[in-house]
């Protein structure tokens, strides 16, 4: 029986390829989504890690409002005088304050520079390499009024170099600065498209309206210090509304913020995957229904020479499983390529990403194959059950046991599923909720599929009537044909 199945598949390579297509696309979306988001997550995590790995603690204002996104919370300012007090805490090696806000470079043609909707950040330059996340790769730190350090990404993409003048939009009018240096974050030219302008602390405080105030103080402890004790000691120095958190906390907050962004992204991609797999399942169902119909004689013959119902059933499902596995294999590979392509595309659009390896988790393969094979096999269960009902005598006669679901049952169930779909779609669009929209679309699709044969008979009778009058015999034959076997329209 295995032989029959395998040879049957190989004998219809084109049909196989076409059947696979939708499943391949679906699996491509699944695996591509996972590979891309895993890779992005990994590189962002590494990036955030390189930025914050030096810092043991961060002193910052408490969040003004409760929030789930701690990384982007609106926080109270920290008094600048606190820096000296923290430096005096035993166990603290370095403490440096940072003021940050909005600053946007202006290109040579006078246009504000931004990558998509990514933030444009201005910050005070921290010259202390023990706490600073930035390091100058060219030129020198800002020292005076109207000095600025530019991120290497912007410098490269807009061809700025040290010593040149550049306009910067701060709160208010555009001001002209001299580029004294170009800086990188760790090894990255910029933070995934975020532009970055660094000024002297007084200039930043002026620009961001935070005179004598800071946004946070980065703290590094002496090697071997008892960090918990140091954190407690720092906490004792802090006024109300200011908190001290570990560098790990900041890192976790940043990571979870990135994950929230990525999860929206991956949800959107997975919705595409779902739609594609649904279409794929539908295609499989149709193809297998047709081939089971075409192979009635062959299946009946197998029954005649002694294939049990179970053997026939398994043969159809095995064919589906092989189709599913082949599609999953191709789809997984294509997904990796798609992820690499998308990443390259993002880089080309200016979302400069730090170099990182493509992340290919075992989970990606498992989910891709489970989904690909699962959808295919489940879609083939219906046709397989019909194959099992093939009467052995059909091998010799043309008589077939017509056991179609009755048209009335079809109408009722199709309409019901369709109606659920319309309601879910409307609710999903109104709320709006992506999941509901997907469910709605799926239900409408299924409902239509169930309804099609039931509606086809009266419809083809109506459409066929003028045709029969006009077209004579062929038209009439066609009409009778599609009335007799309405599933053909499906």
């Amino acid at each position: 029986m295995r032989n029959v199945t395998l040879k049957g598949i190989l004998a219809h390579k084109l049909r196989l390829a076409l059947t696979c297509l939708a499943i391949v696309i679906g699996v491509t979306f699944v695996s591509g989504t996972y590979v891309l988001t895993d890779t992005l997550h990994n590189t962002f995590y590494a990036l955030v890690g390189t930025i914050f790995h030096k810092i043991d603690f961060q002193v910052r204002g408490a969040a003004q409002f409760p929030t789930t996104d701690a990384a982007n919370a609106v926080r109270n300012p920290v008094p600048e005088a606190l820096v000296d007090e923290i430096r005096r805490v035993p166990g603290v090696e370095a403490a440096d304050g940072v003021a940050d806000g909005y600053a946007q470079f202006v290109s040579r043609t006078g246009k504000p520079i931004a990558t998509g909707a990514e933030p444009t950040i201005g910050e005070s330059f921290d010259p202390d390499s023990r706490t600073s996340e930035l390091h100058i790769v060219q030129g020198r730190p800002p020292t005076g009024l109207h000095d600025v350090v530019m991120d290497a990404g912007t410098a490269k993409s807009h061809h700025f170099s040290v010593g040149e003048q550049v306009g910067v939009i701060l709160t208010g009018a555009t001001q002209t600065f001299t580029i004294t240096g170009i800086a990188q974050f760790g090894t990255a030219d910029n933070l995934a498209g975020v532009t970055f302008a660094a000024f002297t602390l007084p200039e930043a405080q002026q620009a961001f309206d935070e005179v004598s105030e800071l946004d946070h103080i980065n703290v590094v402890t002496v090697p071997g210090a008892n960090r918990a004790a140091v954190q407690q000691a720092i906490a004792r120095e802090l006024p109300h509304g200011v908190e001290v958190v570990t560098g790990q906390t900041v890192l976790d907050e940043q990571t979870s913020s990135i994950n929230q962004d990525l999860s929206f992204f991956s949800t959107a991609l997975l919705v595409f995957a779902f739609i594609s797999l649904f279409v794929g399942g539908f295609t499989i169902f149709n193809t297998f229904s047709i081939t089971v119909g075409q192979r009635t004689r062959e299946l009946a013959l197998l029954r005649v020479v002694g294939a049990s119902r179970r053997q026939v059933f398994r043969s159809v499902l095995a064919e589906a499983a092989i189709v599913g596995a082949a599609s999953s294999l191709v789809g997984t590979g294509l997904g990796v390529l798609a992820a690499i392509g998308l990443e390259a595309l993002m880089s080309a659009l200016g979302y400069t990403l730090p170099a990182g390896p493509i992340v290919f988790e075992p989970r990606t393969v498992i989910v891709a194959f489970a989904v690909g094979i699962g959808v295919t096999v489940i879609s083939a269960v219906g046709p397989a059950r019909r194959a099992v009902r093939t009467a052995p005598v059909a091998a010799i006669t043309d008589r077939q046991d017509a056991r179609d679901v009755s048209s009335r049952r079809r109408l009722i169930s199709g309409a019901a599923v369709g109606l659920v779909g319309v309601v879910a779609l409307a609710a999903g669009l109104a709320l709006p909720k992506v999941g509901l929209v997907g469910l709605g679309a799926a239900c409408i699709f299924t409902g239509t599929a169930i309804l099609a044969p039931a509606v086809a008979r009266p419809l083809s009778s109506v459409i066929g009537r003028p045709l029969a009058r006009l077209g004579g015999v062929p038209g009439r034959l066609g009409r009778e044909n599609s009335m007799r076997s309405p599933r053909r329209t499906a």
Binding site: V4, Q311, V393, I396
Partner: protein, 264 residues
């Protein structure tokens, strides 16, 4: 469910019983006014080790009789026995095993699996049973049928005669109690027909095989030991040691009395 495993007593009974037997076999299609009677109560026995031909005009029910007796179709009433076993009491899986292990089929349109080679087609019933092919028997069969050189060919690479001989080998590979052949020469030229019928004749004589063959060819029927004539779903006559002429005679006699009287 009736099992296929027989007690010694049953086995002895089976030895004594005919290869196949129909008792009051009826088959109707459709209901009410559209009811069509294909078999109107057939009583017939096919002897063990005999080559029996079933003849009759189109619509006489000869194919239906074969389908019902071979477990391919369920009769409306009556009983069908294969080697003493009432197949009406078998469920689908027992019927499947019966067809696989104890009955062989040869059809008019060869009915080989197009994607399999001749060898794979022949061993299909054995493979489906998950058993090992008896290679001596296999070699004997393909040698006798003259298809040893064709075993790696697909059906579409073979002539009709070769395909039908492959089908014969497949029917015989499990050493069945009985072979049902439905118009086996219907698609063959006269040479290939004679060869095939000669082989069937030899398998009865030399191997003691039991064969039931539906045919409408008097020349083909003359290869058998006995011809059973069917008309309008009933047995209307029989003929032992037939010749083409005696079969034709009988047919014309039946044809003369048929339509007006029995057709009602």
């Amino acid at each position: 469910m009736t099992t296929l495993n027989q007690s010694p007593a049953e086995a002895t009974a089976a030895q004594a019983s005919p290869a196949a037997q129909a008792v009051g076999l009826r088959k109707t299609y459709g209901t009410g006014g559209a009811e069509v009677t294909a078999l109107a109560g057939v009583d017939v026995a096919f002897a063990r080790g005999h080559f029996t031909a079933v003849m009759g005009p189109s619509g006489s029910g000869k194919s239906t009789l074969m389908h019902c007796m071979a477990g391919l179709d369920r009769p409306t009433a009556g009983q069908a026995f294969i080697a003493g076993l009432d197949i009406g009491g078998l469920d689908d899986s027992a019927l499947t095993k019966l067809r696989r292990d104890r009955v062989g089929f040869v059809f008019q349109s060869f009915n080989l699996v197009p994607t399999l080679t001749a060898r794979e087609n022949i061993t299909l019933p054995v493979d489906l049973a998950g058993k090992k092919v008896d290679s001596d028997w296999f070699d004997y069969l393909v040698g006798q049928l003259g298809i040893a050189g064709r075993l790696s060919h697909r059906p579409n690479e073979m002539s009709g005669g070769q395909q039908q001989r492959v089908a014969c080998a497949r029917a015989l590979v499990n050493r069945p109690e009985l072979i049902f052949a439905d118009e086996p020469t219907g698609n063959l030229d006269s040479n290939a027909s004679a060869e095939l019928l000669g082989f069937l004749r030899r398998s009865v004589q030399e191997l003691g095989q039991s064969i039931v063959m539906v045919t409408h060819d008097p020349g083909g029927a003359a290869f058998s030991d006995r011809v059973v004539f069917l008309a309008d779903g009933q047995v209307v006559g029989e003929l032992y040691q037939p010749t083409p002429t005696s079969v034709l005679d009988q047919m014309s006699r039946l044809g003369a009395q048929s339509d007006p009287e029995l057709g009602a």
